[in-house]
C-alpha cells in the first residue's frame, strides 16, 4: 500500500518535535530564572552603590562645609577680639596721655565701653569641647578680668595722677597685657588651624573611603555585567541556532508533506483509475454480456410461458440496474471520456451531467485547447472543474456556472465562475479546495479562489505545459 510509509513518517515527525519542545522549554525556563535573578542582583548592586555614593557625598559635603564654617567663624571671632583689644588699647592710651599731648581724651565711659566690647567679643567666641582651647580661652578671660580691674582704677584717676603714672601704666601693664592677649589669640589661631587641618584630613579620609568603596562596587557591577552579557550572548546564539534548526526541520517536513500529498493525489488517481477499469471492464462488460444472453434466453422460452418470461424480465431489469450503477460509479471514478474524447468534450459531458443532476446550468468555453495534452494535465483540469462545479452546485446553490479553458503557448488557464452565494476563502478552506490546490501545485501551477459571501466564486488555475507530459494511458 502506498499510504503506509508516509502515514508513519507523518506520525513520527510531530512526536520528536513535541519532545524537543518540552525539553527546550524546561531549559529556557531555568535559564530565564537564572537571568532574572542575576539581573536583579546586578541592578540591586548598581542602585545600592549609587545610593550609597550619593548619600555619602552629601554627608561629606555637609561635613566639609561645617568644618570650613567653624574655622571661619573662629577666625572671625578671634579677629574681632584682636581688633577690639586694639581699639580699647588705643582709647585707654589716649585717655591716659590726654594731658601730655594737650588733646581732649575720650570719655571714661567710652573707654569702659571698649573694654566691654573686648569682653563681648571674647564671649562671642564659638566654643567647642576642645580642652587646649578652653585653657587658652580661660587664661584670656583671666587676663581680661585683670585688665578690667586695672582699667576701672585707671579711669578713676584725675589729671595729675594720669600725668604722673600714665607712662608707667602703659609700659608696665598695658603693653605686656596686650602682648599676652595677642600671644594667646595667636595660639588659639594656630590651634584653630591645626584643628581645621585635622578635620579636613578626616573629610579627605572619608572621601577616599567612599572612593575605594565606589571603585569596588563599580568593578563588581562591571564584572557581573560582563558575565551576564556573556551568558545572554551565549543564550541568544543558542536560541538562534535552535530557531534555525527548527526552521530547517519545518522546511524539510513541509517538503516531505508536499511530496507526500503529491504521491497521495497520484495514488488516488491511480487507484480510481484501476477500480474504474475493473468495474467497467470486468463487472460492466460481464453484466452487458449477461443482458445479451438473457435476451437470447427470453427468445428461447415460448411466449406463453408467462412465469418464466416474467422471471427473465425481472432478471433483465436487475441486471440493467446493476449495469447502470456500475457505469455511474466508474464514470465518477475515472471518466473514460478523458481518454476517449479528449479534455473539452469530457468537460462538456461533465457540464451536462451536472445540469442533469442539479439546478445549475453550466457553460463550457474553450480556446485553442489541444487534443494531445498530457494525461496529468488533463486529469488535473478535469478534477479541478469537477470539484469546482460540484461545490458550486451543492454548497453554493448556484444557478449558472461558466468554465473557461484557454491554452497559451506554454500554459493552460482554467477559470470556473459561478453565481452562487459565495464564501470567504480566507476562512473556509475545505478538503476539496485543498485537493484542488494540491493538484495544481503538483504540476507547478498557480491556484487562486476569489469569492465573498453573496458574490459567487471564481476558481482560477494556471498550469504550465510540459513537453514531457506522460503519454495518454488507456484504461
Amino acid at each position: 500500500m502506498p499510504l503506509d510509509p508516509p502515514k508513519n513518517a507523518a506520525a513520527h515527525l510531530p512526536r520528536t518535535a513535541r519532545d524537543d519542545d518540552r525539553e527546550s522549554e524546561r531549559h529556557a525556563k531555568q535559564l530565564r530564572r537564572l537571568l532574572v535573578i542575576s539581573f536583579g542582583w546586578l541592578l540591586a548592586l548598581l542602585i545600592g552603590a549609587g545610593l550609597d555614593a550619593l548619600l555619602s557625598l552629601r554627608h561629606l559635603d555637609r561635613s566639609a562645609q561645617e568644618v570650613g564654617r567653624r574655622f571661619t567663624a573662629r577666625n572671625r571671632a578671634l579677629g574681632t577680639i584682636v581688633v577690639s583689644v586694639r581699639v580699647y588699647d588705643d582709647q585707654i592710651e589716649r585717655f591716659l596721655l590726654q594731658d601730655q599731648l594737650q588733646a581732649s581724651g575720650p570719655d571714661p565711659s567710652d573707654v569702659a565701653n571698649k573694654i566691654a566690647a573686648v569682653r563681648f567679643a571674647l564671649l562671642s567666641f564659638p566654643v567647642d569641647g576642645d580642652s587646649d582651647e578652653q585653657v587658652l580661652l580661660a587664661s584670656m578671660r583671666q587676663q581680661l578680668q585683670e585688665e578690667e580691674n586695672s582699667c576701672a582704677v585707671v579711669l578713676a584717676w584725675h589729671a595729675d595722677l594720669r600725668r604722673q603714672r600714665a607712662y608707667q601704666f602703659i609700659g608696665q601693664e598695658l603693653i605686656p597685657w596686650r602682648t599676652r592677649i595677642y600671644e594667646l589669640s595667636s595660639q588659639i589661631s594656630s590651634l584653630n588651624e591645626q584643628k581645621h587641618a585635622v578635620e579636613n584630613l578626616a573629610v579627605a579620609t572619608r572621601f577616599q573611603m567612599l572612593e575605594s568603596r565606589l571603585i569596588w562596587l563599580v568593578s563588581l557591577a562591571l564584572i557581573a555585567g560582563v558575565l551576564m552579557s556573556l551568558i545572554c550572548g551565549w543564550y541568544i546564539l543558542r536560541l538562534e541556532r535552535q530557531a534555525r534548526q527548527r526552521y530547517q526541520a519545518l522546511a524539510l517536513s513541509r517538503l516531505e508533506l508536499e511530496g507526500l500529498s503529491a504521491r497521495l493525489v497520484e495514488a488516488q488517481e491511480e487507484e480510481r483509475r484501476s477500480i474504474s477499469r475493473e468495474l467497467h471492464d470486468e463487472v460492466g462488460q460481464s453484466l452487458g454480456a449477461l443482458l445479451v444472453e438473457v435476451g437470447q434466453l427470453s427468445k428461447l422460452v415460448p411466449p406463453d410461458d408467462r412465469v418464466t418470461q416474467a422471471q427473465i424480465t425481472h432478471i433483465k431489469s436487475v441486471a440493467e440496474t446493476a449495469v447502470k450503477s456500475i457505469r455511474d460509479i466508474a464514470l465518477l471514478l475515472r471518466p473514460p471520456m478523458l481518454d476517449d474524447l479528449g479534455l473539452i468534450p469530457a468537460l462538456e459531458w461533465q457540464a451536462r451531467e451536472i445540469s442533469r443532476r442539479s439546478e445549475m446550468e453550466v457553460e463550457v468555453h474553450s480556446e485553442k485547447v489541444s487534443e494531445d495534452l498530457g494525461d496529468e494535465t488533463k486529469v488535473t483540469v478535469y478534477r479541478l472543474v469537477q470539484e469546482a462545479l460540484n461545490n458550486a452546485a451543492t454548497h453554493a446553490a448556484a444557478k449558472n456556472a461558466k468554465v473557461t479553458v484557454v491554452q497559451g503557448s506554454d500554459r493552460i488557464t482554467i477559470e470556473i465562475t459561478d453565481d452562487g452565494h459565495g464564501f470567504d476563502p480566507k476562512r473556509q478552506r475545505g478538503m476539496g479546495i485543498l485537493g484542488m490546490e494540491e493538484r495544481v501545485r503538483r504540476l507547478g501551477g498557480t491556484f487562486t479562489i476569489e469569492s465573498a459571501p453573496g458574490k459567487g466564486a471564481t476558481v482560477k488555475a494556471e498550469l504550465p505545459l510540459h513537453q514531457a507530459d506522460p503519454p495518454l494511458n488507456h484504461p
Binding site: 471492464d281 451531467e353 445540469s355
Partner: protein, 216 residues
C-alpha cells in the same frame, strides 16, 4: 440473397460472443470476423471488407472512434455502428464526426442491434431511442434555462423536409431529385438550415436531427 457481412470489434470476449449469438440468428446476417482492439479492427476491416462494423468505443490500443475514423477514411463503403455505454452528445458527435452511421447503447444492443445493422447497411442512420431522448432532454433543459427559442421552430416546412433527407444521408442531388428542385436550390436551403440552427457540418446536423427525433 447476399448476406450482410459483419465485423465485430469489442475487447471483451463475452460481449463479442453475445453479439455473435444475436447476429447469427438472423438468416441474412453473418459474422466474418472478430477484433479484440481498435488496431486489429482496422486491419481486419481492410482485409475482410465487411459491410458493417459493430464496434465498441472503449477499446485498448486504439479506441473505437479513432478506428472508425481510419476505416471510413480508407473505405467509405463501410458502415460503422458504434457501441457505447454513453448517451451523452459529446460521444454521439464524436462518433458521427468519425463517420459512424449508427450509435447503439450497449444495454439496448440486444433489442436494437439487428435493426441498427439493417439500417446502416442501407446507408441509413440508426440511433438508440434512449440516445435521442437524452439529447432532447439536454437541449430542452438548456433552452428552458437560457430562455432561448427552439431554433427548429424557425425552419420552414420545406427546410424541415430537406433537413430530414440530409440527415438520413441523402446527397444534394438525391434531395433535388426527390423534391423536384434544382441542386442549387437545395444547396441554398441547406446553408439556410445550417445558419438558422447554428450548426457546423453534417455531424452536427445529424445530431440535431436525432435530438429532435427526426431520424432514429
Amino acid at each position: 440473397m447476399r448476406k450482410i457481412r459483419i465485423l465485430l470489434a469489442d475487447d471483451h470476449k463475452l460481449m463479442r460472443s453475445g453479439l455473435r449469438l444475436l447476429v447469427e440468428q438472423q438468416p441474412d446476417l453473418t459474422v466474418v470476423g472478430e477484433a479484440n482492439d481498435g488496431r486489429e479492427a482496422v486491419s481486419l476491416a481492410k482485409t475482410l471488407k465487411p459491410d458493417v462494423v459493430v464496434m465498441d468505443i472503449g477499446m485498448p490500443n486504439l479506441n473505437g472512434i479513432e478506428a472508425a475514423l481510419q476505416m471510413t477514411q480508407t473505405n467509405p463503403q463501410i458502415s460503422v455502428v458504434m457501441l457505447s455505454m454513453h448517451s451523452d452528445e459529446s460521444y454521439v458527435l464524436r462518433a458521427l464526426k468519425a463517420g459512424a452511421k449508427g450509435y447503439l447503447l450497449k444495454d439496448s444492443a440486444e433489442s436494437d442491434l439487428i435493426k441498427a445493422v439493417h439500417a446502416v447497411a442501407e446507408s441509413k442512420s440508426f440511433f438508440s431511442p434512449a440516445v435521442s431522448k437524452v439529447l432532447l432532454d439536454d437541449y430542452v433543459r438548456k433552452l428552458k434555462r437560457s430562455g432561448a427559442e427552439d431554433a427548429y421552430d424557425l425552419l420552414t416546412p420545406r427546410e424541415r423536409e430537406i433537413l430530414q433527407l440530409v440527415a438520413e444521408g441523402k446527397s444534394n442531388k438525391d434531395v433535388a431529385n426527390l423534391l423536384n428542385l434544382s441542386v442549387y436550390t437545395v444547396e441554398t436551403h441547406r446553408s439556410n438550415i445550417m445558419e438558422k440552427l447554428n450548426l457546423r457540418g453534417i455531424p452536427e446536423l445529424i445530431l440535431f436531427a436525432v435530438r429532435r427525433g427526426i431520424i432514429s
